[in-house]
Assembly symmetry: C2
Homo-oligomer: 406 residues x 2
């Protein structure tokens, strides 16, 4: 009995150890094969410096090396890597937070024709939303609404507030730390808005449009010095430029793979004319990556990508801009603001248009009339106002009594 | 037979589906339990704002939510997150690369008494190493040696070159992109060096010393403007300050858990006197984290940590500094450089010491003698030099012949 027992024991232990070995070798084999593929892919794109996948370890990366690295990291950083760019996942965008500058590193969104259809029947309104600091980011890393007040800069959305379906999603886009950065008023209202609108428009013709936006801190032209402002008590950094990287995926047919196109746009964070053609603000992905220090879409094989968007918007004045301008004029609530708007549109060359001129005239008339009414009510003595009020009420009572009496 | 077959089939399918369900619920249960622990731990440290673990999702994070998030990210960023801070794992340090500024975000190292013992018997020399760009970082993100030349700034090691055991490890520490940033000569040679030396020294009394170093870009005092230089063609950023976060782990005894202490030091990237007491450059972890935008040691429970290092170095002049100064003087190869050194030591208050004065005198004498020799050999006509050489050789031949003849 004892011999049988020992035999069973030895057999079992042998069996188990054999299986563990088998498992190890299989895993090892599998990983090396995958690595081989990766290396082949890397070699394929070697002539193109941009296609080096920098997240992958450059040498043959086997299971043994992987485990060794984990141990090594545990020895040097027993409590994990310092958090530098925490990622926040929201319904309509994904953002990486730059906790030193208190603005996003990048904000990514995706458009599709189905999303656009859903947006048409949405019931969210931006008037009911308010700017809040991100509650999931500790206080010392988050921008506050007070930092932006009286800075002379607008709170520029990276993922536009018009791309959210429900009210809670809309509130997400008003999140100061993860979606908003200090942006020049004119830049925000004109060229950047046009770029956002155009991105939405082209998504009708594509299977998917993937947009990444964010800030750039670039040295002044001709100097060896980077200089940027910080605003408020929280010292929120004001970027010198803003970027947008647009990746489009074409509808694939039964005889070919999906085609990708990619383009990058850089807009200075300063007043810039709305009718600037998009070709002028387009830059190469390479130079943008050098400026931002990011590598966009790392798993994309760039040898398959066309490095230019085919459907560039025409440079001429768009009827959309006229519509926006007229709407903004109608929302003006004071003559001072209207005058500022007029100056701004003069600079943008929008005042030449008849519709804008008309809207401006009407709004001016309306506001002037309101102002006159205010002046009259201010100078009328209180006793006269009271008398009118009392007479009116008495007349109403009398009229009512007469009506019921009949 | 057929009925038996169908019975078996239904039984098996039921059995399998039941097991899958069981597996799912077990996983779910397990994850929620772990999350419960995490939440409890979070609640424990809630009074301390610093102990919010910002990498953990704030809400109850179940398997379902996790899978949903993965799907969501796949929809918005189908080719992965933009690479912002790639990590490089080297034998003696772990570094995060800031690809926009072409310097490290942070460099982490760990010291222990066993490492110090190993360092005593090492055979690596820094003279044989040369500065290279990181080959695993694409060209456009990497600093070159030429960027540093003629900039008036030194190549400051974050993980010091004296903490490597073998030659290949030593070469790692000369890696421009992952371990080096532009540092002021005086800062690098005096206070920063003293800080590095002190870190190594205290590791004798502790079970482990974990050091994280890196750059800070801070607005000028009293202004709302961040301004920093960029050097070379590659536009390598020059930080305004440097930081060092030191975490020590005390030897644990049989009756208590291991004790941790933590402290942060900030040194301006400018000439600073070597005898500055460490208390003066110590800052709170909180304020450092706000400046750098990093959260250090995220998995560490900070309610267990003493926020001050007990063994601060005395402020008085250390014999070590005298030794360094004398060595540097002996390595001087020109009178011009010696004069620069003298001025520098005057500023640091090191010239009052007798040993340094002695070394300076000797080196001056030696260099003067060398200079005189050079002058003599310069003005001696070539024919005379040749004659001396020929006479010498003939005399040697004659002497040799005479010796062998005897």
């Amino acid at each position: 009995m004892s011999s049988l027992h020992s035999f069973c024991h030895s057999f079992l232990s042998f069996f188990l150890s054999f299986h563990f070995l088998l498992l190890y070798f299989t895993m090892h084999r599998l990983l090396s094969t995958v690595n081989g593929w990766k290396m082949k892919m890397m070699k394929k794109g070697e002539s193109d410096a941009r296609s080096v996948p920098i997240q992958i370890q450059p040498k043959q990366y086997c299971l043994y090396q992987f485990l060794l690295d984990r141990l090594h990291i545990r020895r040097i950083l027993p409590f994990g890597f310092p958090t530098i760019c925490p990622v926040r996942i929201r319904k309509s965008y994904v953002a990486g937070v730059d906790m030193a500058k208190k603005i996003p590193f990048f904000v990514a969104e995706a458009y599709s024709s189905s999303l656009l259809k859903a947006l048409e029947s949405r019931n969210a309104s931006r008037n009911k939303c308010r700017f809040v600091a991100d509650p999931t980011v500790p206080d010392k890393y988050a921008a506050k609404n007070e930092d932006y007040l009286r800075s002379g800069l607008s709170r520029g959305h990276m993922a536009p507030a018009g791309a959210q379906k429900t009210m809670s999603e809309m509130q997400d886009s008003f999140n100061l730390t993860t979606n908003i950065l200090p942006q020049d008023f004119d830049c925000n209202a004109f060229l950047w808005r046009r770029l956002e609108h155009w991105t939405k428009e082209i998504s009708v013709n594509h299977q998917g449009v993937y947009v990444i936006s964010g800030p750039i801190f670039r040295p002044q032209e001709g100097t060896n010095c980077v200089e940027y402002q910080v605003i408020g008590k929280g010292r929120v950094a004001v970027p010198t430029h803003l970027f947008k990287v647009i990746l489009t995926k074409d509808k694939k047919s039964w005889y070919s793979r999906a085609k990708y196109s990619m383009a990058a746009y850089v807009v200075p964070n300063a007043p810039i004319v709305i009718s600037t053609p998009l070709n002028e603000i387009e830059v190469s992905i390479d130079s943008l990556e050098e400026q931002t220090g990011m590598y966009f879409h790392p798993k994309l094989d760039r040898s398959r990508v066309v490095m230019h968007l085919q459907d560039q918007e025409p440079a001429a004045m768009d009827p959309q801009h006229i519509e926006w301008a007229s709407k903004d004029i109608q929302y003006a609530r004071s003559l001072w603001f209207l005058k500022m708007l007029e100056e701004r549109y003069q600079r943008q060359g929008l005042m030449k248009d008849g519709t804008v001129q008309m809207a401006m005239k009407q709004q001016k008339k309306k506001l002037n009339w309101n102002a006159r009414k205010k002046v009259v009510s201010y100078f009328l003595p209180t006793s006269v106002k009271d008398a009118i009020y009392v007479c009116g009420s008495i007349a109403a009572c009398v009229a009512g009594g007469w009506y019921y009496g009949n």
